[in-house]
Chain length 366, copies 2
């Protein structure tokens, strides 16, 4: 994820984007409210489109048409990189994207993107709901003029595709690796060169050795782009992206003016999208993970403990530094780190210990 | 979980339960539909009540009162053990409980309860939505005359509280352990004596050595019952219960007659309850896990690999046998084991490998 869909979408856009301010106020016809939502992804982008589409369809159904949300693909109304401004200005009512895209506007937003060695999806959800995360997100997104709702998530992503082996932290040195966000900052610290590159150019980049490796998403999306044909190794675990929440953001005024019943429907639809996208991610990646190995002979490789330990230490520094950017960053950093410190021992004892036990060698099932 | 809330609730009920068939058909007043939902838990039972309450409140809000669902605690309308019959017969429209409670009616239902060494919550959700689980659940619950919706879940539970150490599989021999469901069958196979005991009697049972150990829920609920005062050790990981979906079940006719918009609202409310309960479980258990150690000096212990491996092997046999009970059991067993076989390698590579990496010793955060 990160900036890649952006470049692609932006590239496809050209100069035809409609200026946000030229757009009309929310349409109301015969007591029915008509909203428009644009995604930062193209129509039918695998996994990414699911959440936005579900929100649109479920709201229409649940409200009996009292609120309809017409869905647009990347660039159809506003250039994707300007989508937040377009929504905040009331050019359209809703946007669907990825928090990392707005980090340039407000650095604190990057704490809603996956943090290297940070919270898992299950923990992030718990933080949003019971650890103060939603309140802080509302504050931060409020600064940008919108209401925030989590609207999709991934499970742990992969550590990327490489044409060179990584047997120690030193092997990263000098490698050109497509990446973005806080993960890219960690890579720079250990001597690699992070490269920004549109999604669609990555296969060729790997094939021509313009890059030595690429952080992508997970088996399902990666396979669709044919990365297994141009890279030798797929590395795990995805230390850079243990989760990846998608954001639905709503013009503040439009949200405030929405009647309570429709507000609840919009919330329930996003809650549903949030967990259904995760389920789709898990199910499709599980399948693709198998296919990559059985049909395409991909070699799955694991970073060793010493390498991971160094990456973890560097990540800790990079994130602490990001937490110093401003007051909002400090607040969200403190909140998330406090939650992580408390939840991790429990997760290690419950989820992690269970998964380790289940992975022992014994006959079971089919 | 398992049968324990049952006994407690049943004990509190007395003979005052209203016969289901004596109840009236769904009430409709001024175009507004009024349903009734009973839970198998008492009002405000920690974590368990959250899902039922959310469904009731969210449906009311989202429908603008077009559908209201009045919520009753265990035994207020029907005895909890008879709740499925009461809902199927139309005595009330909705029930909220735990699949294990209906295993006596239809053995296949136990495949919606946590399977020892089975799917995690994240995987179970993916199975329901993208692995055919919802369809099979609708078929199985359809046999009982109701529509099924997942309506809450736990993360991995604990392996229970014990007053004797477990250093090998042999230490289980002769132990009297409060437990239920498929986990109890595994314990019997390895020479322990599973004991059925109401939730409220467990603390005294441990104190008087009537039992040597007890499978309970997790730190938050366990601490509320004071188990840390009467048992020496809390064991992990919870091999018996890696998840624990709660079920919302709806009278088939009432569901079929519900207008489409309200159907969607009921579904969205349950989807939301399903993930919010999980988040609450994670957040509150993380906190209680810490408190148990820092304030109450509880010793957390882990079963060793050899013990877990034997438990896993025995669990595999017990579950395979359960899958032979009848055609429906065979179908759901096959579906879930097929999904488990595909998803486990992916989970091990993504979630498990990440959590292991994150658990390495490096400075990070606060």
């Amino acid at each position: 994820m990160k900036r890649r869909q952006f470049f692609k979408a932006a590239g496809a856009l050209g100069a035809g984007g409609v200026a946000a301010t030229a757009l009309s106020a929310p349409a109301i016809s015969q007591g029915k409210i008509q909203w428009r939502m644009q995604a930062t992804w193209r129509e039918n982008s695998p996994l990414l489109w699911t959440g936005a589409k579900m929100v649109s369809e479920m709201v229409e159904k649940a409200s009996g048409g009292k609120l309809s949300i017409k869905l647009y693909g990347a660039g159809e109304i506003a250039p994707p990189l300007q989508l937040m401004d377009a929504v905040a200005d009331g050019g359209l009512e809703m946007g669907h994207g990825y928090p990392a895209y707005w980090a340039g506007k407000l650095p604190a937003v990057q704490f809603f993107t996956p943090l290297p060695f940070g919270l898992t999806t299950q923990e992030q959800n718990a933080w949003f709901r019971f650890g103060g995360g939603q309140e802080i997100a509302d504050k931060i997104y409020g600064e940008m003029g919108v209401k925030f709702l989590p609207s999709g998530n991934t499970s742990v992503q992969s550590a990327g595709w490489f044409n060179k082996e990584i047997n120690s932290i030193d092997d990263y040195k000098g490698m050109k690796i497509r990446s973005g966000g806080l993960g890219a900052k960690v890579l720079r610290e250990i001597g690699a060169t992070p490269v920004q590159m549109p999604l669609g150019e990555v296969p060729q980049g790997l094939q021509t050795n313009a890059i030595d490796g690429a952080d992508f998403v997970g088996p399902f999306n990666d396979m669709a782009f044919g990365l297994h044909k141009v890279a030798k190794f797929c590395y795990w675990p995805g230390w850079m992206e243990p989760c990846g929440v998608l954001d639905c953001f709503i013009n503040k005024q439009a949200w405030d003016d929405l009647p309570d019943d429709l507000k609840t429907i919009v919330q329930l639809a996003n809650e549903t999208a949030n967990s259904v996208v995760l389920s789709e991610f898990v199910a499709k990646n599980a399948q693709a993970y198998q296919t990559l190995q059985t049909e395409h002979g991909v070699e799955m490789k694991f970073l060793d403990e010493a390498t991971l330990k160094t990456l973890g230490e560097v990540a800790g520094k990079v994130i602490a530094e990001a937490g110093e950017a401003d007051e909002l960053s400090k607040e969200v950093y403190t909140s998330q780190m406090t939650f992580r410190k408390q939840v991790m021992p429990y997760t290690n004892t419950s989820e992690l210990a269970f998964m380790k036990a289940r992975g022992l060698d014994f006959p079971y099932g089919l």
